[in-house]
Amino acid sequence: MKRMSIAWLSVALAAFACLPCSAQMRPCPGVAGPGQKVLIDDIDGAQSVVLGLLKQRIDAGLAKLQLETRAASPSGAASGVDAVRVRAVRCSDRHPADSAAFTPAIARELNNNEVVLEVWAETAPLPATEAPGLRALVGYALVPLRHYVPTSAQGVVIVESKASSVDSPADLLALLDQSGTLAIYTAVGSGVRLLYAEDFDQARTQLCLALARLEKIRNPSPDDADLSQAVRDMAQDTVRRALASPGYHGALRLAAPVSCTVAPL
């Protein structure tokens, strides 16, 4: 009885402690329901050519992700295709301020709802101390990584670009191209989630897929390099955990791979 009281008290305190941080972001009504999801928050900021372009780049990236990773058969069971099956959920009036918005409580709630990635974006004028122009920002919360490895710096990635003029918004947004990035972060989020659910085979598939895409990036940023290393480590950890698990009888026992890098054909 005493233990239960303490447990209830802990829950109440945790809920109370989280009220202020939860209040920073409006809940997303469509987040419940089965299946892995990518949340797309409202994109807003200074009205500009860049804002419109940013919105449609993210939409295009999402459409590409869904179309090119869709299994042909509805069940996907009969196919050999390794698809990440994700559903996009639009969240209106939801604007994470920065990585701090993804508190442990929020990350846990999102993870429980099978959210593998949350994306938000905004544009804003450059500060007065800088030349006239715009700043465009895209944020990615890799929810399972944020939840299971809260110390990881890659749990929330914010990509920012500045332009001193808006003469060539396409050039500005080339740096923020969403079509490849969205697929990479979705695969990472999905892979981490599957790893902690002990679905080792699917986790390995998604993590190796993400790593192959990360390694294809030309001129990777330090953040990209850090994420690559983190994914590489998790892909290896997947094999170690699978082999250490007595109930595991999957193909990793045969291949016993270490690296995700396979020789080109």
């Binding site: 419109g52 590409k64 390794d82 192959a212 895409r213 030309r218 007595p246 990793l252 995700c260 396979v262």
Partner: protein, 462 residues
């Protein structure tokens, strides 16, 4: 297109006999999608979303794409093309149309017949400041199954699904003048002529009225069609009952000196190629071996054109960092071209090597993709039978095992590896007599791996 004339069908007699070939339909509503059930492949074109929310203009663009597509795929025989329009200002949702056609969602419209294929095409044009950007999407499916290549191997078969069955084309900048010219062309070309001549007597097809048609002749850039109201059962229509009397000719190619639709949207050539692939690989639809070879060659040429136009229309003007946007589209085209090489009777070494080159290129474009590697290694295994030693086959089996290391639950890779081990051990037909005998260690290793593979079981967490 001068000099190109293809008489598809006799223009006489009951149209009932043509229900599966070269049929078209326009302005059918998206919420009740229709298809020609007897056609091996239906190409379904959805409205192009425009920044102005102008559903008539959106439908006009889709009609241009639909006609040009039908004209280009008519040579493949049992094909049809349908243009679906927005109804009551309700947007067309491609995933819903697909689900209805496949019978995954209830519909009062049509469903695909078992084993029949559909190619969905849609696009969107968005604006940002003075600039427009266009993007075209293509999705294809046969029945409710995955497209796969099968190669006989010993007493077994190697199986390889395609890596993807759709793609989002790259976003391309497009100037407003070009879009205006295309729309103007679309307005002018929604017209039926008494003869294939711009100066002949004509009548404008009323917008928004659903109607079906059959192509009875193709002459250069023109199609001769029999038009009938959408509500009339196709089998009851006589070619002389054309709704517009003697006016039966329509422009089927959208091109002017400044632009051609196929260069503005290279995906149209992809649609031609994938339709050719789907017809050629349909055992019910394809004709003689010679006809299949001709169709396969035509389909592959269209896929070449698609990739060339992708390059000239995209890469040349875009930054290198955008390469990823092209990888999916190119990889699908390459895998289809590889499969086309192996659809004919001739599965000799030359065809296998040509197919392998396409699959390997797809694998390079998508390095973490197990399907492209699997397809490549299938051809390696078949080619290895001609080698004078077992080393190439052993190497291919090792590479399949490595692929399993990055995609352990991939059932096709597992199955092919099992087939390879069985064959190497002499359990699935004779090995080439000239090969050296496998060492005891090699045999033991292969037997252990085969035994392990046979014990692989799905694991979804403890």
């Amino acid at each position: 297109m001068t000099g190109f004339a293809l008489r598809c069908l006799a223009a006489v007699g009951l149209v009932a006999s043509m229900t599966a070939t070269h049929a078209g339909m326009m302005n059918a509503p998206c919420d009740r999608p229709v298809v020609f059930r007897d056609a091996a492949v239906n190409v379904v074109v959805l409205p192009f979303a425009l920044p102005t929310q102008n559903s008539r203009a959106a439908n006009r663009l889709a009609q241009l794409v639909q006609r040009e597509t039908l004209r280009s795929v008519a040579k493949f025989g049992s094909v049809a093309s349908v243009q679906l329009g927005e109804s009551d200002d309700r947007a067309c949702v491609p995933a819903e149309v697909r689900a209805k056609l496949l019978g995954e969602q209830p519909t009062s419209g049509d469903r695909l017949a078992p084993g029949r294929a559909v190619v969905l095409v849609w696009g969107r044009i968005v604006e940002s400041g003075d600039q427009l950007y266009s993007q075209v999407y293509v999705d294809f499916v046969r029945g409710r199954s995955t497209e796969k290549l099968e190669l006989p191997f010993g007493t077994d078969r190697l199986v390889g699904p395609l890596g993807a069955q759709g793609f989002a084309g790259p976003q391309r900048s497009m100037d407003r003048a070009t879009l205006a010219r295309i729309d103007d062309f679309a307005r002018r070309s929604n017209v039926l002529y008494e003869s294939p001549d711009e100066n002949a007597d004509r009548v404008t097809i009323p917008p928004d009225v659903p109607f079906s048609y059959y192509v009875t002749e193709i002459r250069g850039d023109w199609m001769r069609i029999v038009v009938f109201p959408g509500s009339v059962p196709p089998g009851s229509v006589n070619s002389e009952q054309n709704a517009f009397g003697k006016k039966q000719w329509i422009r089927a190619v959208a091109a002017e000196p400044e632009w051609t639709l196929r260069k503005v949207w290279p995906e149209i050539a992809f649609v031609e190629g994938v339709t050719g692939y789907l017809v050629t690989s349909d055992p019910k639809a394809a004709g003689t071996a010679a006809a299949r070879a001709t169709m396969a060659a035509a389909a592959s040429r269209a896929l070449d054109e698609f990739q060339e136009n992708l390059h000239s229309n995209g890469l040349a003007r875009e930054q290198e960092s955008f390469d990823e946007r092209y990888a999916g589209a190119r990889a699908v085209a390459l895998e289809l071209q590889g499969a086309l090489q192996l659809l004919g009777i001739d599965r000799g070494d030359a065809a296998l090597r040509a197919a392998r080159a396409r699959f390997a290129e797809s694998s390079r474009l998508r390095p973490g993709n197990a399907e492209a590697r699997n397809l490549t290694l299938m051809t390696d295994l078949v080619l290895a039978r001609q080698a004078d030693s077992p080393e190439p086959a052993l190497k291919a089996a090792d590479a399949l095992l490595a692929t399993l290391g990055i995609a352990p639950s991939n059932v096709a890779v597992q199955a092919n590896l099992r087939v390879a081990y069985r064959w190497l051990l002499g359990l699935a037909g004779p090995r080439p007599p000239a090969w050296r005998v496998l060492t005891a260690d090699e045999r033991s290793h292969l037997a252990d791996m085969l035994s392990g593979l046979n014990q692989v079981a799905p694991y979804r967490g403890g």
